[in-house]
């Protein structure tokens, strides 16, 4: 059901309760008012009609009374005649009635019958119920029953009733008789009138059979074509008269349950009718029923009468029917109109609201750049404007919050991962922030630290008052000399140990409250390391100095005796030569001595030079130098001699007109000497070529090429490392200490000479120097 309604609503375009409410609000009041108005009108009309019915029934009752009175007076008039009195007298005495008198009374009765066709029969009974006079009419013709045809059986019913009646009462008893010719039952109303003599004793009984149908037709006015029913029932609820079924009296009297108000009306109405109530009821659906007792009888149930007027509400109240039609039209019209208004209102007010909803959805989904565009020029517009403003503010706030969160995260992360203790205290020194590093450094856990005084916790007792004053001053002024700077303090661990620390201060203003943030670094280890370093440096400096001195001294100590040895060996050589005692073998030995000595001196000089460079005592004095004339020329003279001893060609090719450079000539001499020494040493055949020229950058370039053993590619990078030669150990073919090239490299660096080497194993090597 709910789903079905939802479906219908969605088809109608009603989505959401608000739409429905607006539609209902704009539809219901008008509809309700019109329903109420029309209903009031119908009610009024209905009441008017009911009043008419009441009047009808009342009129019927009144007419009945009038009618009865008329019948009574008619009959009583006869009874009061002198003839009747005579009959009564006769009855009182000997029961013999004079024929003449009898005939006169009979004639009176016949007159009554002739005048009114609703009189069926008039009987005069004696007090024991025996018929004395009987007059009846059939087919509008009156007959007098002859003496011999009078009933022999006493009419005990009338005797019984009459004996119970009081003087002046009339009993009306519904009854039926059978028409002897047609064999049909005729409903009658029996008037029973006890007749009293002068002594007020029952003398006779007058009974009048009145044709019920004819009587009621007289009483009940015709209502044309309406379905108004006039019913008269007895005390048991049986129909005595039924305006609809009057043509079928036989069935009316033979079938009990069908012809009873309990069969046709609901229990309550039927009971009220028989209880003698006078009222109008609408309790029978579709009917208007008015009922009232008539013929005030107080006898047995069958002898009581009730009149019922029953109308079909719809048929009898055509005006109400018309009103109802009008009502339907009005309701449909008003309903439709108000529905249209409702839809219009809903559209008018809900479209912006829907847009608002959509907007909020879009914005909620994260699109804060969405802007609602509604132009209604009313409160909604204002709402939307405010909404847009709100979204903008929110967006800014969100961005801000995002930044704040980011920085908070960063700070938290920094704080927690920092190796330094980070803490924050309020103006009283109470700890608010305490990071993991703080716990590690000071030994207090976060729980132990937070909320406690920073002074009591981590400041040594003797510094506390000073620290307090400082923090107070800092927070009071918002600045301090320590702010932004790092000061050294003494801090206290949980175990009571004091340690040196660095403290950085800063202040934060939050909610009008100043807080101090401090970063404390435990510098115990650093302090120790610095001290150790200084000590080590001092030791190293001393050792270096000692080494240089030692080396100098050692060189000197080696060179001096060696020179002496060499000089004396020369002296002995020369002496032997003068004496011509110098044989080839001895000469060879002298040469060996001389060579070895020179080698030692060269090595020592190298070590000395290296030592001088390393200790910084080497004096490098650059000046404008003619590399060719001042250095290369004298060197080539010397090395041409050496090369020739190994049968090597030695060429110097100068292609430069300006072989100048700003270098230290001693250093360059050393460099070239070493390179030429090496070239000759590692070349066994072929040539040594020295080229000097200016490159495109006008730098002087000196290249020394040999056709020696060459250097393997793998060894080239290690070439300038001290104490290295390609071949190591006892197997090496060439003497040398590996210091030479290292020294060359250092000297080149000192004079801004760039040196590079190219070599091919077994083909030769080329050292190229580019001078500054």
């Amino acid at each position: 059901m709910k789903n079905f309604l939802k479906k219908i609503f969605s088809v109608l375009g009603i989505q959401g309760k608000l739409t429905l409410i607006i539609i209902l609000l704009s539809t219901l009041p008008i509809t309700l008012v019109s329903i109420f108005t029309v209903n009031q009108e119908i009610k009024y009309k209905q009441e008017e009609n009911i009043r008419d019915i009441k009047t009808d029934v009342k009129g019927l009752s009144e007419r009945t009374v009038v009618f009865l009175t008329r019948i009574e007076s008619e009959i009583m008039l006869v009874m009061k005649s002198t003839e009747t009195k005579k009959i009564l007298d006769d009855l009182d005495h000997n029961e013999m009635i004079q024929k003449q008198t009898k005939e006169k009374v009979e004639k009176e009765f016949v007159n009554i019958l002739t005048d009114n066709d609703y009189y069926l029969k008039i009987n005069l009974l004696n007090k024991r119920g025996k018929e004395i006079i009987s007059v009846f009419q059939d087919q509008k013709k009156p007959y007098v029953v002859e003496q011999r045809y009078l009933s022999k059986t006493p009419k005990m019913f009338y005797v019984s009733i009459a004996n119970e009646m009081k003087s002046g009462e009339i009993n009306l008893s519904p009854s039926e008789i059978k028409n002897p010719t047609s064999n049909k039952f005729i409903p009658i109303i029996d008037f029973i009138l006890p007749v009293y003599n002068q002594n007020n004793k029952l003398a006779a009984i007058l009974t009048v059979n009145i044709h019920a149908e004819k009587l009621f037709e007289l009483l009940v006015p015709s209502h044309g074509t309406t379905s108004k029913q006039i019913l008269i029932v007895n005390g048991e609820g049986f129909y005595i008269f039924h305006s609809e079924r009057k043509n079928n009296w036989n069935s009316l009297f033979t079938r009990k349950f069908d012809e009873n108000i309990f069969h046709d009306y609901n229990q309550e109405i039927a009971q009220n009718i028989l209880a003698g109530k006078t009222e109008t009821t609408l309790k029978q659906p579709g009917r208007i029923i008015q009922y009232s007792p008539i013929f005030s009888g107080n006898q047995a149930a069958t002898n009581r009468y009730f009149i019922i007027e029953d109308l079909s509400a719809a048929e009898v109240l055509p005006s109400i029917q018309r009103l109802k039609e009008l009502f339907t039209v009005v309701i449909i019209f008003v309903g439709a109109l108000s529905l249209i208004i409702g839809f219009w209102t809903a559209r008018r007010f809900l479209r912006p609201i829907k847009q608002l909803i959509l907007g909020t959805q879009i914005i909620r989904s994260g699109n804060l750049n969405y802007k609602l565009e509604i132009k209604t020029q009313d409160e909604l517009q204002e709402l939307v404007n405010n909404f847009n403003q709100l979204v903008l503010e929110w967006k800014n706030k969100q961005l801000l919050e995002k930044e704040v969160r980011k920085s908070e995260k960063l700070i938290a992360s920094l704080t927690q991962t920092a190796t330094d203790a980070i803490l924050e205290v309020d103006s009283s020194g109470k700890i608010i922030v305490w990071n993991d590093a703080a716990s590690r450094i000071f030994g207090f856990s976060k729980d132990e630290a937070l909320g406690n005084s920073v002074f009591m916790l981590i400041v040594p007792e003797r510094d506390r008052s000073t620290a307090k004053e400082k923090v107070a001053a800092f927070l009071k002024n918002g600045s301090d000399t320590s702010l932004g700077t790092t000061i050294k303090i003494n801090a206290l661990r949980k175990n009571g140990e004091e340690f040196p620390a660095e403290l950085s201060f800063s202040s934060v203003l939050m909610d009008d409250q100043l807080y101090a943030t401090g970063i404390i670094r435990d510098i115990t280890k650093r302090e120790k390391m610095v001290a150790d370093l200084i000590e080590a440096k001092e030791k190293a400096e001393v050792a270096d100095r000692l080494k240089s001195e030692f080396l100098n001294q050692m060189s000197h100590e080696i060179r001096t005796p060696l020179n002496a040895l060499l000089n004396f060996s020369d002296y002995i050589h020369d002496d032997l030569k003068e004496r011509d005692q110098l044989t080839d073998d001895i000469n060879e030995n002298f040469n060996e001595v001389k060579e070895s000595g020179a080698r030692i001196i060269r090595t020592v000089e190298l070590i000395l030079l290296m030592s001088q460079i390393q200790t910084g005592s080497y004096e490098n004095n650059p000046r404008k130098t003619n590399i060719y004339d001042e250095i290369l020329k004298p060197l080539s003279n010397k090395y041409r001699q050496v090369a020739s001893e190994k049968n090597l060609e030695f060429n110097v090719i100068s292609k430069s007109d300006t072989p100048f450079s700003y270098v230290d000539p001693y250093s360059v001499t050393q460099i070239l000497s070493h390179l030429l020494d090496n070239a000759i040493k590692f070349t066994n055949k072929g040539s040594i070529t020295v080229e000097i020229e200016n490159n495109t950058m006008q730098n002087l370039v000196v290249a020394i090429k040999d056709t020696g053993i060459g250097i393997s590619e793998a060894y080239l990078p290690k070439l300038f490392t001290p104490f290295s030669q390609e071949q190591q150990g006892l197997t090496r073919t060439y003497d040398g200490n590996g210091l030479g090239l290292a020294l060359v490299k250092r000297l080149c660096e000192m004079n801004s000479i760039s040196i590079e080497v190219t070599s091919m194993k077994s083909e030769g090597t080329c050292f190229k120097m580019i001078f500054p």
Binding site: S151, T153, M156, F157, S175, E236, K256, A301
Partner: protein, 193 residues
């Protein structure tokens, strides 16, 4: 049940002294003609209680009349009032010995009363005012009703002294004592005024 009834009957028969009984018969005249519907009854002078009969008596309604018009019954008899007519009836009585009102009931329906007091019961109908009937409730089972010729017969009357009573709706009750012999028939003709 049937067995019990037979047994009870045997016991009753055995308990009764096997005596001889007489009959009473006669003719009742009024104004020289035989008078019908006269109830003739014999009540033992020595008062005696008779058990209520098991058989019910019938007061039918046919053609707008009670049938019979006069119904004599022994006290304690149940009288049923079937409606055998074409129309409804509303039978009632306002007699001193018993007042009842059956209300209206349709053809085919049946009502009943038990006549538990001796006397005359006038039965009437509210709808049909000419209808009337009499139930004569007697304290003796020895009764008869005169036929159209005014004749009556009471059979098997134990011998003894009795009050002989005549009742007719239009006359007063007449009573005289009578002796019923051991055997034979007593004839009693009466002329009512």
């Amino acid at each position: 049940m049937k067995k019990n009834v037979i047994l009870a009957s045997v016991i009753i028969l055995l308990s009764l002294p096997i005596t001889s009984a007489g009959d009473l018969k006669g003719k009742i005249k009024a104004e020289g003609e035989g008078l019908s519907d006269v109830v003739v009854s014999l009540a033992p002078i020595e008062k005696k209680n008779f058990p209520a009969p098991k058989e019910t008596a019938l007061m039918d309604q046919k053609n707008l009349a009670f049938v019979p018009h006069v119904l004599p019954v022994l006290i304690g008899t149940k009288v049923v009032f079937p409606n055998s007519d074409q129309t409804r009836h509303s039978v009632f009585s306002r007699s001193k010995i018993k007042k009842f009102d059956f209300g209206t009931y349709p053809p085919g329906a049946e009502k009943s009363i038990i006549c538990d007091e001796a006397g005359i019961l006038t039965v009437l109908c509210y709808i049909h005012h000419d209808m009337s009937a009499y139930i004569v409730v007697l304290e003796t089972p020895y009764f008869a009703k005169t036929n159209q010729s005014g004749e009556y017969t009471i059979h098997n009357i134990p011998p003894g002294k009795y009050h002989l009573t005549f009742w007719h709706e239009e006359t007063e009750i007449k009573s005289q004592d009578i002796v019923i012999p051991e055997h034979g028939t007593v004839t009693k003709n009466i002329s009512l005024e």
